[in-house]
């Protein structure tokens, strides 16, 4: 019976080790690709806005408070109209994905830590 129990444990530990490795790599790949996508899209969006001179619309923030108050909605609305929407949406989407991955890792950090610790101890015991 002891032998069978060890076989079951071995099967479970190997499965868990494989699962954690795959999970870890998938998360890294998703995070890196979405973050890279975010940086590229950010750069493109910035260049487009710079070319359109859309940032000049925001210069009124340097004026007096009264002026800012008066033109705030108009300028922001025009700025919003000039921004490429699809690019902005993709930018937020990629930022959302990379943040979600980070949040999931932070949330499950204790579980990952315990699992890795247990797996390490078990593999050491097997040697």
């Amino acid at each position: 019976m002891k032998n069978v129990e060890n076989k079951i444990l071995k099967k479970i530990y190997f499965w868990e080790a494989r699962k954690i490795t795959v999970d870890f790599f998938l998360k890294i790949i998703v995070f890196l690709s979405s973050f890279l996508f975010f940086l590229i899209l950010g750069e493109i969006l910035f260049e487009i806005l710079k070319e359109q001179r859309s940032f000049e619309l925001l210069n009124f923030f340097q004026e007096d408070f009264e002026v800012v108050k008066k033109y705030f909605f108009d300028n922001v609305f025009i700025f919003w109209l000039e921004v490429p929407k699809f690019l902005l949406l993709s930018l937020f989407l990629s930022l959302g994905i990379s943040s979600a991955v980070i949040l999931v890792v932070i949330k499950n950090f204790k579980i990952y830590k315990n699992k890795i610790k247990n797996l390490y101890q078990w593999f050491l015991k097997q040697k």
Partner: protein, 167 residues
């Protein structure tokens, strides 16, 4: 330590606690399986599958529920699968091992013509074709039926022959 505490520990990543559950229930499950299939190796394989399947589904398991009935439910399902799998390879006797090698049955028929007569017409036709060296695929094509139907007919024939042989 209660089962609930152990499950919570495992869910929090301390997988070494699963050993506790294995030690607690393996003997009981093994006895149950042995009563059903009476084969040590098959019992051990099934026991492995049961605990492995339990571990894989542990994240969905409600820790407030008792573990034992859940494990037995898995055991029953595994047994069903085991029987289903074994049914596909139900041999007539030791000499007959594979589906393609059904010529062995036919030598028996030659010896016992009466048994052959007791098969229904369709079964007789299939076995006759087998005797003539046809493969399952060819029989299916010739009789315009599905391959699986041919296999079922052969299986039924085998079972009938097995019953007759016992008698």
């Amino acid at each position: 330590m209660t089962d609930k505490e152990v499950i919570l520990k495992i869910k929090s990543g301390e997988i070494n606690y699963f050993e506790f559950l294995i030690k607690k229930y393996s003997r009981l499950l093994y006895q149950y399986l042995f009563l059903k299939i009476k084969n040590k190796d098959d019992c051990e394989d099934l026991l492995q599958e049961i605990f492995f399947s339990f571990y894989k589904n542990l994240s969905h398991f409600d820790e407030s529920q008792p573990v034992k009935p859940y494990l037995f439910k898995i055991a029953i399902n595994q047994l069903k699968m085991f029987y289903r799998k074994r049914k596909d390879f139900l041999p007539l006797n030791k000499d007959i091992a594979d589906e393609e090698g059904d010529f062995a049955i036919l030598s028996l028929f030659e010896e016992e013509e009466k048994i052959f007569e007791k098969l229904n017409k369709k079964e007789q036709k299939v076995f006759q074709l087998l005797k003539n060296g046809y493969k399952i695929k060819e029989i299916a094509k010739k009789l315009k039926i599905k391959e699986n139907t041919v296999k079922s007919i052969i299986r039924r024939g085998r079972m009938k022959l097995k019953v007759k042989n016992k008698k």
